[in-house]
């Protein structure tokens, strides 16, 4: 028993002895100006992290689950044997290394298929949901290019879908971008009326990555079945979070991503319906692996990781969903209790609870994000946060420019704790109050002046 009490101070002492020597910080400080480009991150157990001119005392708490999710330790455990001893190519038919890798790939395929209620023969492994979306949209339309020239999609799709559609538009296809309501859900009547005899594909994502709203998949599936149009959905954010059933939704193609379900990055899966068969033109040509649809060696460790992640998701979906819903309520109520002028972007009822996109009125977005450096959140999606313009998804929702700029997306996941939520609430409220105190617009609002009626003077 006594050894336990001695163990931790001893460990700490040993850790201190192994720390980098005291001369290292001095080298950086004297050469800081020149070396900043060469060594952008500096970590020290005492002083915290300095990166890009920002100093934080420790690693931020992670609330950006829509960008990517941490790898579940059980998934890593399933993957490691295939990085160490079982490194064979699954397409080698002549030796044990190939046979065991092939077995692993096939069992992973079955695990992924089980989560979406499909047959393993309908799953094709790719490098991620972006590649799946490319294969679906460009592949399907190129295959049926003689008869079908029209694609229907929404304005809030992921950038890769919109970019593929733009590419098709340059080739001469017609694309209809459906408008969404202010709650983020598409109008089914508008969808029905846009379907033409030469419509080759309808592409609607199941759960939006920025605002988290869930589209009415079953109804869209029914409409597509009625008109016999293939239905593609990007289910990267939906997999493992809400029940996904390819038969109930009547989807012909579905894009799945590994790193959104606590799996590894760099792997995804494409579901291709066999009855009725949907044909695609392959985007990656080669040796004919994956039924000719995606040639290239199947990365065994990544695929095994995705399979393990999907199996875990199936077991834990109910537990995670309950927990994430209660955490979302805690976050939203915590923020709303302390500050006003908080708007949730997107429908609150038809939404995946782990994605909360909030706009704070009378606050400037970039400064809010810079003040929230101890919380890893994002404003807009990871794809668009590099540019300064507000996200196109929020613009499609009809959110005004100033509110769109101050939107923050909180992503809650399996590993988020109550204490992290409380800390995030505390930090957000503090930062918003600080910014609002400085804001003259907020002063005017408190006095009762209507912002929209102000005539701004021209200089």
């Amino acid at each position: 028993m006594a050894s336990k009490f001695l163990a931790s101070p001893i460990r700490r002492f040993l850790a201190k002895a192994h720390r980098p020597s005291a001369s290292w910080p001095r080298h950086l400080s004297t050469a800081a100006a020149a070396a900043e480009a060469a060594s952008p991150v500096y970590e020290d157990p005492d002083a915290g992290i300095v990166m890009k001119g920002v100093r934080i005392s420790g690693r931020p708490l992670y609330l950006d689950m829509q960008a990517t999710s941490p790898l579940d330790p059980r998934v890593l455990d399933a993957m490691l044997p295939f990085y160490t001893a079982r490194y064979g190519n699954p397409h080698s038919r002549t030796h044990l290394y190939g046979w065991e890798s092939d077995l692993a790939v096939e069992s992973a395929r079955a695990q992924v298929a089980a989560l979406v209620n499909a047959s393993p023969k309908e799953i094709v492994f790719t490098s991620g949901a972006t590649e799946c979306n490319n294969i679906s949209i460009k592949g399907v339309m190129h295959f049926y290019r003689d008869k079908k020239r029209h694609v229907i999609t929404t304005q809030t799709e992921h950038k890769c879908v919109l970019d593929s559609c733009r590419h098709l538009q340059q080739e001469g296809f017609d694309i209809t971008y459906l408008k969404v309501g202010s709650d983020g859900i598409i109008d089914l009547e508008q969808l029905r009326s846009s379907i033409r005899p030469d419509t080759g594909l309808v592409s609607v994502m199941a759960v939006n990555n920025e605002i988290g709203v869930i589209q009415p998949m079953e109804e869209i599936g029914k409409i597509c079945k009625e008109f016999n149009v293939p239905f593609h959905t990007d289910a990267a954010q939906a997999l493992g979070k809400i029940p996904v059933d390819v038969d109930k939704w009547n989807v012909s193609l579905m894009s799945l991503s590994g790193h959104k379900v606590y799996g590894p990055k760099g792997v995804g899966a494409l579901y291709l319906r066999r009855r009725p068969r949907i044909r695609v033109e392959p985007q990656m040509n080669g040796g004919g692996q994956e039924r000719g649809i995606r040639s290239g060696t199947v990365p065994t460790p990544l695929v095994v990781g995705m399979g393990a992640a999907c199996e875990l998701a199936m077991k834990e979906m109910e537990y995670d969903h309950k927990r994430v819903s209660s955490l979302q309520e805690r976050l939203l109520n915590g923020i709303k209790e302390k500050i006003d002028g908080v708007v949730v972007n997107g429908s609150l009822e038809k939404r995946y609870p782990g994605n909360l996109n909030i706009s704070f009125a009378y606050v400037e977005g970039e400064s809010l994000l810079m003040g929230l450096k101890e919380v890893a959140v994002s404003s807009g999606s990871a794809c668009t946060s590099a540019s300064l313009e507000p996200s196109y998804v929020l613009r499609a929702l009809g959110v005004e420019e100033d509110m769109a700029h101050t939107s923050i997306r909180y992503g809650i996941g399996r590993f988020t704790t109550e204490e992290e939520i409380d800390r995030a609430v505390e930090l957000t409220v503090k930062q918003v109050e600080k910014l609002r105190e400085m804001s003259p617009l907020y002063e005017m609002v408190k006095e009762g002046i209507d912002i929209k009626s102000i005539q701004w003077a021209q200089h």
């Binding site: 336990k4 720390r19 970590e43 020290d44 157990p45 915290g48 992290i49 934080i56 005392s57 420790g58 690693r59 931020p60 708490l61 992670y62 941490p70 330790p73 059980r74 890593l76 455990d77 490691l80 077991k315 834990e316 537990y319 101890e374 399996r414 590993f415 988020t416 704790t417 204490e419 992290e420 800390r423």
Partner: protein, 151 residues
């Protein structure tokens, strides 16, 4: 880490041991190690686990159901292993998930599901032990903000 039961107190403990002989008097279950061979810390090492498995296979068929003390010991081992993780989120998750899983399976009474759950728990314990080591090998030098401010 999903299906592990709390065995109810009405499960027979000593009654099934009478036929095993006088050496079993000091034990509380057919698979329990004699005190002097038990690991002082109480945590199951790999060696203990394999010895337990051997004894389990040698004991009578009725003993396949884990006893209450075995289940409790597994619970404690899982919690203790979870504490060794360097990553704040994984540590909290392991603790929370173990408690919730055991709590939700408290009412399992069917022998087969109980043994299946126990076996699953043992597997999860092995995974947790391995991953605790792997995570500690690659842990970042700076800790998470949540840990720093707690200290």
């Amino acid at each position: 880490m999903t299906i592990l039961p709390f065995i109810s107190l009405t499960l027979p403990r000593r009654s099934s041991l009478v036929e095993l002989g006088p050496a079993s008097i000091n034990r509380t279950g057919p698979n329990r190690m004699p005190p002097n061979k038990r690991n002082v810390e109480g945590c199951c090492t790999a060696g203990t686990f394999w010895k337990l498995k051997l004894r389990a296979s040698m004991a009578s068929a009725a003993a396949k159901t884990p006893t209450r003390s075995e289940v409790l010991s597994l619970f404690r081992c899982l919690l203790r292993t979870g504490r060794d993780f360097c990553d704040y989120n994984v540590r909290e998750y392991t603790k929370r998930r173990t408690i919730d899983a055991f709590r939700s399976n408290r009412s399992l009474s069917d022998q087969q599901s109980v043994s299946a759950a126990y076996a699953d728990g043992k597997e999860q314990l092995a995974i947790a032990k391995r991953q605790a080591i792997v995570y500690s090998l690659y842990s970042p030098k700076v800790k998470s903000i949540m840990e720093l401010n707690q200290v």
